[in-house]
Amino acid sequence: MLLQQIFFALVTIYLSYRAFNLFSRIRRNILLGEDEDLTDNAPQRWKNVFLIAFGQKKMFKRIVPAVLHFFIYAAFLATQIELLEILIDGFFGVHRFFADKIGFLYPVIISTIEILSFLAMIATVVFLIRRNVLKIDRLHKPEMKNWPTIDANLILFGELALITGIVCMNGADVCLQEVDPQNYHHTGFFAISSWMGPLLFGWMDAGFLQIVERFGWWLHIGTVLAFLNYLPISKHLHIMLAFPNTYYAKLNSRGEMTNMPSIMNEVKSMMGIGDAADAEAPPADEELPAFGSNDIFTLSWKNIMDAYTCTECGRCTSVCPANMTGKKLSPRKIMMDIRDRAEEVGANMDCGESQYIKEEVRATAKKITKENYDDGKSLFDYISKEELHACTTCNACVEACPVMINPLEPILKMRRYEILTDSAGPKDWVPMFTSIENNGAVWQLPDARDKWTEELN
């Protein structure tokens, strides 16, 4: 028993520590983005967390997956109580710590967990079928090839392992309560294992039952710890990040593109208006600053958190007008690319090799920072201009995302980089730009703007 206790403590502490490090790495990667203050109006933010993250409000636009997903989600939340008990039991070498402390509540809680787990199991099986047999369209776009599909299936199998663990652990326990009441105290009626346990394991002797019980117990906690270490490389990370991501989602109008005060002030001083007119013009020889985003460093931290929160569900892509008409753009791919790029940069920073430091400062730099990082690559190596150019800014993706991700914002930031910093972009747009600049109209036309009034009467 003591041996098991020590083993448990070592495994749990080690795997938790490892997971903690992986999560810290993700936090570091997210903070590679630019600062953006998203803390105003806390009451509204909490309301969003309750409705959209806890309440899964946006999931319910598609009722079938919403209900199935809700089973898994509810089971996940409820199982946390059982997990707490497993941890206490494991560390202190006790058995079902809560059983004699909370009286009749105990079987109620365990029964709830069991029923939800049963529903979650059905949902998991349906999800596996939807993904692998029915091949639901949005789950099989080009960006879902290889790892993303394996990832999704691994999680579903992990889910099944968790549930198997619960069934073995509780089912065998119920049987043991009959054959070895000395060590296995009566816990009251469990909604599923009280009848399923005897059905499955009733034929076993005490020794065999103990093995099954331990197997279930270890399978459960083992899967949880494995999950914890797996989340950082999985789309399943959303089970944690969905909450902060919803909290920090922008509250201002979707219609507002973030203003660029530096450009505004420059234009103001050019036009001689406002306070900017008095401000000193920047010296002419100063290097022009880069505008827009070409990499994660010039996205905001929220854009990167969005990417790490993405569940790869493809709700955004399935409603994207560009994607559905065969264009290369897929808002889900945009988010997956940002995450992949953040992972790449993070891994390079971790390895610490000086080849990832800008050449100019390589000799003097002590370590890689977000300011001196340079690997000769950028987000444009992941996201093509063709994709960026196809967006109609219709906001369908923003509306569709159940975890409040905004795929449109990075698209527009990258367009800004292309036009403002690279002076590139679709050539068709040039006449529109010049016409607005010179004639104040999107089209270059000889007519006066109010010519239509002449024909009115």
Partner: protein, 265 residues
């Protein structure tokens, strides 16, 4: 009827020491595009009919900058937007109505950060308000009675600014049969013009977005499509024409429907 339609200009009113209640922001499409001009005219007639104290900027109006900004050209956006804000603030404009969802969105949501604060309404909301307050009555038994009409939610009035009911209420008044498209309201499908797509060739793909939307419209069996965006109207009209259904399905702006229904000529 020989009504003299009036379109006062801000500069003239200012010279006479007057400030109109509301500025009618015409927009580039409404000013220059032949099809959208018809909408501008229809809306102007309604403003006249309802004795609204309005004015336009005329030559002093510039593009709001929406397509430039969404294409990524913040410089051009700032230039035109700051110019407009100078003009609007000079005339002490407080309230603006426009028939273009893109102008509406930019004026309403983006100009404040640049120092332009106005109450901005879209003509859809404005028309509905005229009806609600009894200033405008939709005549019963009009030309649209019993016809099947559908409504296309523009992205910038619908999903972006959350206006779904006003246009539908107006359409219900026309005594017709309103059929919803499969993708409507928050799920409305874009016409394909936004984000400066209007001003360039499509990216490679299998289909134009307006055709995807047109197919849905044709499936609905409606003979009239109501819209409230000059770019949607162009896109949908192109789609209907490309499907050779231009004699069966008409694309109209809400203001045009009201003018036709009430026989304002």
């Amino acid at each position: 009827m020989s009504t003299e339609w009036k379109v006062p200009k801000m500069a003239d009113l200012a010279a006479a020491g007057k400030e109109p209640e509301i500025l009618f922001w015409v927009g580039c499409a409404g000013s220059f595009d032949a099809r959208a001009q018809k909408v501008t005219v229809a809306f102007t007639k309604i403003l006249n009919e309802c004795n609204i104290d309005f004015a336009i900027l005329g030559q002093e109006e510039s593009c709001t900058g929406d397509p430039a900004r969404r294409a990524g050209n913040e410089f051009v956006f700032q230039m035109t937007a700051l110019q407009n804000i100078e003009t609007l603030n000079m005339y002490k404009v407080k309230k603006i109505v426009t028939a273009c969802p893109h102008c509406f969105n930019t004026l309403k949501n983006e100009y404040p950060a640049l120092g332009g604060n106005y109450e901005v309404v879209h003509h859809t909301q404005f028309l509905q308000n005229l009806i609600d307050t009894g200033k405008l009555t939709i005549k019963g038994g009009g030309v649209f009675q019993g016809k099947k009409i559908t409504y296309h939610d523009s992205c910038y009035i619908g999903r972006v600014n959350g206006v779904y009911e006003a246009p539908r209420k107006i359409l219900e008044q026309l005594d017709n049969q309103l059929v919803e498209l499969k993708r409507c309201k928050t799920n409305g499908l874009c016409c394909g013009a936004g984000g400066a797509q209007m001003f360039k060739e499509d990216e490679p793909g299998d289909k134009r977005i307006n055709m995807e939307r047109t197919e849905e419209i044709l499936d609905s069996g409606a003979t009239i499509v109501a819209a409230n965006c000059p770019f949607c109207i162009t896109m949908l009209q192109d789609g209907v024409t490309a499907s050779e259904k231009q004699d069966d399905v008409m694309v109209y702006d809400l203001a045009e429907l009201i003018v036709n229904n009430n026989g304002i000529h």
